[in-house]
C-alpha cells in the first residue's frame, strides 16, 4: 500500500493540475489511507490507524457529499468509531458514527444517486460497478454504521435506542444486505423478547411474525446422510422450536399484562375496571392505526402479506374478558405442543420443563379470567397433572433449582385449589362430607409439597439452616406461612385433632416471628405475612385454651 502511495507522487504536484484530476488523485490517496488505517487498526496499532484514517477524512472533507467521496468518508468514520471504542472512549466513537449517520441522510436527501464504491478507484474502466452494485455496497456500509451505533447505545445504556437500531439493522438486512434465513429469524425472535420487557406487544408480534415467515424460507435441510448433515437437521428443528418458545412467551406476557390491568387489590378480576378499559379501547382504535404506520416494519412487498397473515392469528392488545383471553391462550398452547416436539424430556430436561412451566402459567393466567369457580379448579387441576409426573421423575441431585421450583408451584396450585373449594363450599347451605374430604386432601397435598421444598433446603446432615440464603429466604418464609394457614384450614370434628392442628399452626407462625426477630434484615422480604403471623401468635393460644377447656371441662 505504501508503494502505491509513493507512485501517486507528492501532494504539492496537485496544485498544477486541473480540479477534476486533483479530486481524483485526492480520492485515490484517501482510499489508500483508508486501507492503511484499517490495516493498522486490525493489528491493534491504534495510533497509526487513527493517523491514516484521519488523513483520509481530511482529504475527502471538502468533497465529502459528492458521489465520489461519500461512501469512503462514511466507511472511514465507521472505522474511527470502532477504533475509539477499542480505546474505551465510547463517547468519541459515538460522535464519529452519528456524524456518518447524518452524512448518509444528508446525501440521500440532497443527492441520492448510487455513489462510487472506494474499490473503484483502482479498477479499470470495464471493471467498474453497476449502479445497482454500488447502491448495495453503499447501503451495506450504512447498515454497519447503524449496527455500530446500536452497540454504542447499548454500552451507554441507552437501551431503547439500541433496540431501535438493532431493529433497523435487521430490517435493512432483509432489504439490502443479504441474510441467512435461520439466523435472521432467530435474531428477530430474540428482539421480540426485548419488546416484551417493554410491553410493546405490537412490535413484539411483528418481530415474531416476521421471524416465522423468514424461517419458513429456510426450507428443509437435506435428509440426514452423514453425521454433519444430521447435526444441521437437528439444529434446524431446534431453531424452529426456539422460535415457538418465543411465541409462548409472547402469549403469556400479553395475558399477564392484561391481568395486571384488570385485577383488584385481592387479585380478582375487577368488573368496573373491565368496563372502563373496554370503553377506552374503542376510543383508541385510530390511535393504534397511527402507531402502526409510524412503526418500523419489516417488509419488502411480498413479505408484507405473509407477515400480516401471521399477525392476524393472534391479538396484540390486552384481552379484557375470558373469550379474548382464551383465544390468546389457545395460540400459546399450540406453540407449547410445537416446542415440545423437539424439546422432549429425554434429552432436554431443563428446556422441556421450562416449556411445561410456561404451559402451567398459561392455565394459571387464564383461570384469572374464568368466573366459574369449578371451571377454575379444573384449570388448576390441569396444571397439577402436567407438573406432578415430571417432578416425580426428576433427580434433585442434578436439577435442584427446577426441583424446588416445581415443589413450590405444585404446593401453590394445591393451595389455590383448596381456597377455591372452600369458597365453593361457603356458597352451599352446609358443607357435605365430600367437599370436606376434598378440602382436606388438597390442603394435605399443599402441605406435602411445601414441606418437600423446605426439606430441600436442609444440609446433607438433614439440618435446617440457621440463616437462610437471600435467594431462598422469601419462598421459605412463604412456605412456612402457608403451612401455618393450611393447618388452620383443616376441617375435623375431632377436638383433639383440631388442637393438634392449631398447635402445628402456631409453631409455624412462631417460626416466622422468631426468625425475623433474630434476623431483622429478613423483615422486608415478608412484611405482610409477618404482620399476620404476629396476630396469629397472639390469638391462637387463647383459642386453644378455650378449646381445651371445652374438651376437658372437669380439670
Amino acid at each position: 500500500l505504501q508503494e502505491i502511495k509513493q507512485l501517486l507522487g507528492p501532494e504539492e504536484a496537485a496544485e498544477a493540475e486541473a480540479e477534476a484530476a486533483a479530486a481524483l488523485r485526492a480520492g485515490r490517496l484517501a482510499a489508500l489511507e483508508y486501507e492503511l488505517g484499517v490495516n493498522h487498526t486490525e493489528t491493534e496499532e491504534l495510533s497509526a490507524g487513527e493517523e491514516h484514517l484521519l488523513k483520509c477524512t481530511r482529504l475527502l472533507e471538502p468533497r465529502r457529499l459528492s458521489r465520489a467521496c461519500v461512501s469512503l468518508y462514511i466507511q472511514a468514520q465507521n472505522n474511527l468509531g470502532i477504533l475509539w471504542s477499542e480505546r474505551d472512549e465510547i463517547k468519541t466513537a459515538q460522535t464519529y458514527l452519528e456524524s456518518a449517520e447524518a452524512l448518509y441522510n444528508q446525501y440521500m436527501k440532497e443527492n441520492g444517486n448510487p455513489p462510487l464504491d472506494p474499490s473503484e478507484h483502482f479498477m479499470a474502466e470495464e471493471e467498474k460497478l453497476t449502479d445497482q452494485e454500488r447502491s448495495k455496497k453503499f447501503e451495506k456500509a450504512y447498515t454497519h454504521t447503524l449496527y455500530y451505533l446500536a452497540q454504542v447505545y447499548q454500552h451507554l445504556e441507552m437501551i431503547e435506542k439500541a433496540a431501535q437500531y438493532c431493529h433497523t439493522t435487521l430490517k435493512r438486512q432483509l432489504e439490502y444486505s443479504g441474510y441467512y434465513p435461520v439466523e435472521w429469524a432467530l435474531n428477530a425472535a430474540t428482539l421480540s423478547q426485548y419488546y416484551l420487557t417493554k410491553q410493546c406487544f405490537m412490535e413484539s408480534r411483528h418481530c415474531l411474525a416476521a421471524a416465522s415467515v423468514i424461517f419458513s424460507q429456510a426450507g428443509q435441510a437435506p435428509s440426514a446422510e452423514d453425521n454433519e448433515a444430521e447435526q444441521d437437521h437437528q439444529d434446524l428443528q431446534q431453531r424452529k422450536a426456539e422460535i415457538a418458545r418465543c411465541w409462548i412467551k409472547y402469549c403469556l406476557n400479553l395475558l399477564q399484562s392484561a391481568r395486571k390491568l384488570l385485577e383488584d387489590n385481592i387479585g380478582e378480576l375487577d368488573p368496573d375496571r373491565q368496563s372502563e378499559l373496554k370503553a377506552q379501547r374503542k376510543k383508541e382504535e385510530d390511535e393504534k392505526e397511527k402507531r402502526r404506520k409510524k412503526a418500523v416494519l419489516f417488509g419488502t412487498s411480498d413479505l408484507c402479506d405473509s407477515v400480516l397473515a401471521m399477525e392476524e392469528k393472534v391479538s396484540c392488545v390486552c384481552p379484557l374478558d375470558f373469550k379474548e383471553a382464551r383465544e390468546i391462550f389457545l395460540v400459546g398452547q399450540n406453540y407449547v405442543q410445537e416446542a415440545k416436539e423437539f424439546f422432549q424430556v429425554d434429552g432436554y430436561v431443563t428446556d422441556h420443563i421450562e416449556i411445561v412451566q410456561d404451559h402451567s402459567a398459561l392455565f394459571k393466567v387464564l383461570a384469572f379470567f374464568e368466573e366459574d369457580y369449578e371451571r377454575r379448579c379444573k384449570m388448576h387441576k390441569r396444571r397439577i397433572d402436567m407438573l406432578e409426573p415430571i417432578y416425580a421423575d426428576l433427580n434433585p441431585q442434578y436439577y435442584l433449582l427446577i426441583s424446588r421450583q416445581l415443589q413450590f408451584e405444585l404446593a401453590d396450585t394445591y393451595y389455590e385449589m383448596m381456597d377455591l373449594k372452600v369458597a365453593i363450599g361457603n356458597r352451599l347451605e352446609e358443607l357435605d362430607s365430600h367437599t370436606v374430604k376434598k378440602i382436606n386432601s388438597l390442603a394435605q397435598l399443599a402441605v406435602k409439597y411445601y414441606e418437600l421444598f423446605l426439606d430441600s433446603l436442609r444440609n446433607p446432615d438433614k439440618i435446617f439452616p440457621e440463616k437462610l440464603e437471600d435467594d431462598v429466604l422469601r419462598p421459605a418464609m412463604v412456605a412456612k406461612f402457608h403451612i401455618a394457614r393450611l393447618y388452620g384450614k383443616l376441617i375435623t370434628s375431632d377436638g383433639k385433632k383440631q388442637l393438634e392442628n392449631m398447635q402445628t399452626s402456631l409453631e409455624y407462625y412462631t417460626f416466622l416471628v422468631d426468625y425475623c426477630e433474630k434476623y431483622p434484615d429478613a423483615v422486608h422480604a415478608i412484611e405482610t405475612e409477618l404482620e399476620l403471623s404476629k396476630e396469629m401468635v397472639g390469638l391462637l393460644p387463647t383459642r386453644m385454651e378455650r378449646l381445651r377447656a371445652k374438651l376437658c371441662p372437669f380439670t
Binding site: E42, T43, E44, S47, G81, I82, S85, E86, D88, I90, A93, T143, H144, Y147, Y148, A150, Q151, V152, Q154, H155, E157, I159, E160, A162, A163, C166, T169, L170, Q173, S177, E183, L186, N187, T190, L191, Q193, Y194, T197, K198, D226, N227, E228, Q231, Q234, V345, D346, G347, Y348, V349, T350, I390, D393, L394, N395, Q397, Y398, Y399, N459, P460
Partner: protein, 295 residues
C-alpha cells in the same frame, strides 16, 4: 458443600518473549503472586511515566516454574504432589473431582495437564496413581475398574477423541439431559483400561485428534476445550456386604482465554466496550438487550 482450591503457575519465557527481551513482572511469595504494573501510556509525549504499581493476589498454591535451575522451581512432580494427590485421595473416598486448567493461549495449560514425554503432566500422573494404588493393596485387594473417555468441545460441537470412526473428522456428539441421571454426552465411548501404558496410549491418540489452530501467539495451541474423564469404581466389602464406591474425575484443559483478535478469530467476539465489526454478532447484541434494561 463444594471444596474449591485455586493454584497459579508461572511459566518460563517463550522463545518469542526472549527474542523481544521481555521482562518478568511476576513474583511468587509463598501463597501470594505479585504482578508489577508498568503500564506506559503511549498517548503521552512527555517523560516516561513509570508508575510502578504492585498488585498482589493470593492463592491456595503458587508455583514458580520459570527456571529449572532455581531452587524455588516447581516441577511437574511438585504440582502433582499437591494437586494430583488430593485428586486421588478424593477419588479413593468416592468423591467426584474436577480439575480445570485455565489461561491464555500459550500460558502452559497443556504442559501442566498433559506434559511432554520427558516431563509428564498431571493427567498421566493421576492415572498412574490410580493403578499403583491397586498394587499397594496387599491386605484387602480392592478390585477396581477404571474407564476413561476423552472429548473435545470446539465451535459448539462435542467430539469424541477416542472413537474409531471411518471418516477423517472425529464424530460429533450431542449433549443431552436425562431426568434421572442428569446431563451426559450421548454416544461418548468409554474405554476400559487395566494399566498405565494403555491410558497413555489413549491420551496420545486423543491428543493427536484434537483440532488445533495456529494463532499468532503460540504455535501448537488449541482453540478447543478437552475433557478427559476417569470413571473409577472400587468394589469393597462394607459390613461383609459387597458394595461399590464410584467416583468421577474430570480433567479439563480449557481453550485459550485471551481476548479474541478479530483479524484472526473471526467467529468470536471481543469483550468490554469494543464494537464488534461483523454483523455475525448481531444476535448476541440483541440477546443482551433483554437483560440490560433493569427497571
Amino acid at each position: 458443600m463444594a471444596n474449591v482450591k485455586v493454584a497459579v503457575r508461572v511459566r518460563p519465557l517463550s522463545k518469542r518473549e526472549n527474542a523481544e527481551e521481555g521482562r518478568i513482572i511476576v513474583e511468587v511469595d509463598n501463597k501470594v503472586a505479585k504482578v508489577r504494573n508498568i503500564k506506559v501510556d503511549n498517548r503521552l509525549d512527555g517523560p516516561w511515566d513509570s508508575r510502578e504499581k504492585i498488585v498482589a493476589f493470593s492463592f491456595d498454591y503458587c508455583y514458580w516454574s520459570i527456571d529449572p535451575e532455581d531452587p524455588k522451581y516447581a516441577s511437574q512432580e511438585v504440582v502433582f504432589q499437591d494437586l494430583g494427590t488430593s485428586v486421588l485421595s478424593g477419588a479413593f473416598k468416592g468423591y467426584n473431582i474436577c480439575l480445570f486448567a485455565y489461561g491464555q493461549t500459550g500460558s502452559g495449560k497443556t504442559y501442566t495437564m498433559m506434559g511432554t514425554p520427558a516431563s509428564v503432566g498431571l493427567t498421566p500422573r493421576i492415572c498412574e496413581g490410580l493403578f499403583s494404588r491397586q498394587d499397594d493393596y496387599s491386605e484387602q485387594p480392592a478390585s477396581c475398574r477404571v474407564e476413561v473417555s476423552f472429548l473435545e468441545i470446539y465451535n459448539e460441537r462435542v467430539r469424541d477423541l477416542l472413537k474409531q470412526s471411518d471418516h477423517k473428522k472425529p464424530y460429533t456428539l450431542r449433549v443431552r439431559e436425562h431426568p434421572e441421571t442428569g446431563p451426559y454426552v450421548q454416544g461418548l465411548s468409554q474405554h476400559l483400561v487395566t494399566d498405565y501404558k494403555q491410558v497413555v496410549g489413549l491420551l496420545e491418540e486423543g491428543i493427536a485428534k484434537r483440532i488445533t489452530a495456529a494463532t499468532h501467539i503460540h504455535d501448537a495451541s488449541s482453540r478447543s476445550h478437552a475433557i478427559f474423564t476417569i470413571h473409577y469404581t472400587q468394589a469393597i466389602l462394607e459390613n461383609n456386604l459387597p458394595s461399590e464406591i464410584a467416583s468421577k474425575i474430570n480433567l479439563v484443559d480449557l481453550a485459550g482465554s485471551e481476548r479474541a483478535d478479530p483479524s484472526y478469530c473471526k467467529d468470536r467476539i471481543t469483550e468490554g466496550a469494543n464494537i464488534n465489526k461483523s454483523l455475525v454478532t448481531l444476535g448476541i447484541v440483541i440477546s443482551t438487550l433483554e437483560f440490560a434494561d433493569v427497571q
